[in-house]
Symmetry: C2
Subunit: 239 residues, 2 copies
Amino acid sequence: MTTGRILHLLPVSLGDSPLQDWLPESVRATAARLDTYIAENAKTGRAFLKQIGTIRPIQDITIHTLSPRTPPAEMRQWLAALPDSGEIGLVSEAGCPAVADPGAHVVALAHQLNITVRPWVGPSSILLGLMASGLSGQQFAFHGYAPIDAAARAKTLKLWETHSARHQQTQMLIETPYRNMAMLATLLSSLKGDTRLCVARALTTPQEYVMTRTVAEWQRTPPPELDKQPTLFLFLARA
Amino acid sequence: MTTGRILHLLPVSLGDSPLQDWLPESVRATAARLDTYIAENAKTGRAFLKQIGTIRPIQDITIHTLSPRTPPAEMRQWLAALPDSGEIGLVSEAGCPAVADPGAHVVALAHQLNITVRPWVGPSSILLGLMASGLSGQQFAFHGYAPIDAAARAKTLKLWETHSARHQQTQMLIETPYRNMAMLATLLSSLKGDTRLCVARALTTPQEYVMTRTVAEWQRTPPPELDKQPTLFLFLARA
């Protein structure tokens, strides 16, 4: 039996950019009226609440902090405490909650507890990067991080390239921002010359940069500045 | 040398819902001032322009129609005709352009012609479904359509399930809306009982429905009504 309880999945910004650039007004208004949140990071959670202009003072809003080490029993308590017709918001550290962050566990519990899950529109570097890449959006895979060990990393990238060629599937990965330049160098030394590689940096911010070139073309070009800036790497191998 | 030309990637609605629910104000304002568009479907393109309230009368806006059969030379002409600092919009039939539609070719040409590609935030059933599923957002793959032939379809679903178990990768697929009920039945007869399956229907509209259950639980439950409603199917197999 449904009791009208709702878990709202609320996207936050990808960087320093005005609210009206990246959040629909209804999403802002919904986020502004909630009195309970689950946030991956309480500090960025409060920054988001400040930006959207909450109806209540921020100190009157409950924020549960979620980490990859939060026990499932604790997450379950947060949700089970919702009264009939109660609502709670979930926010990640950047972008859309439950994509490449621990929020997915909270969402899974909500389904188990028959709480309605409502996803709201907002920025996702994965989706924006895919759109802007010009690579195939018919089939694609997001892998998160590549292995750290150099040999395993090169081997894995080549494996993804083979899979990409066979299935015409765009491959997407991220890297810890201070290692972005090293990742670009590894991609250029591991992938085939005719594989198309897209670099999508700092999406939705004034530093936004998106460029797709073949690996051979990238090798002849001075690399873009990616150090410490959130970047998505995408590639599609020739069939 | 850049000449300040821009290709704007503008999301359109996923169904019948108010603009403020799914489009940030800056995206609306940007779309409203452009005088040239590339649209997958001229009729839905015009409906979008009407909804956002263009500055010019719609009949004064040029709309090039893009289909999977549009020759690349013709797409190139549309882009090459842009003057210095000229801007053009790309819209798909529903959701975000260049994801699961022919717009990716236009974006690829823009990169070749050194036209800046600017992706804007908006609704994507793939991303919203992934967020709301509670399945892994750390690794995921979108496959588009499964094979039509019954034997090939069941075999492919099982292959994706094996891949999902091995890599803990969420698998996503779509179906022609009038075949959704048959697809759900095939998923329930092909996948393992402990595989988690999410059905995400009519996202961002009043008919929105998202539910994640194990295949065994789905088999014991009356199926939701999916006929002729856009639906994303997602699953994650147990490791």
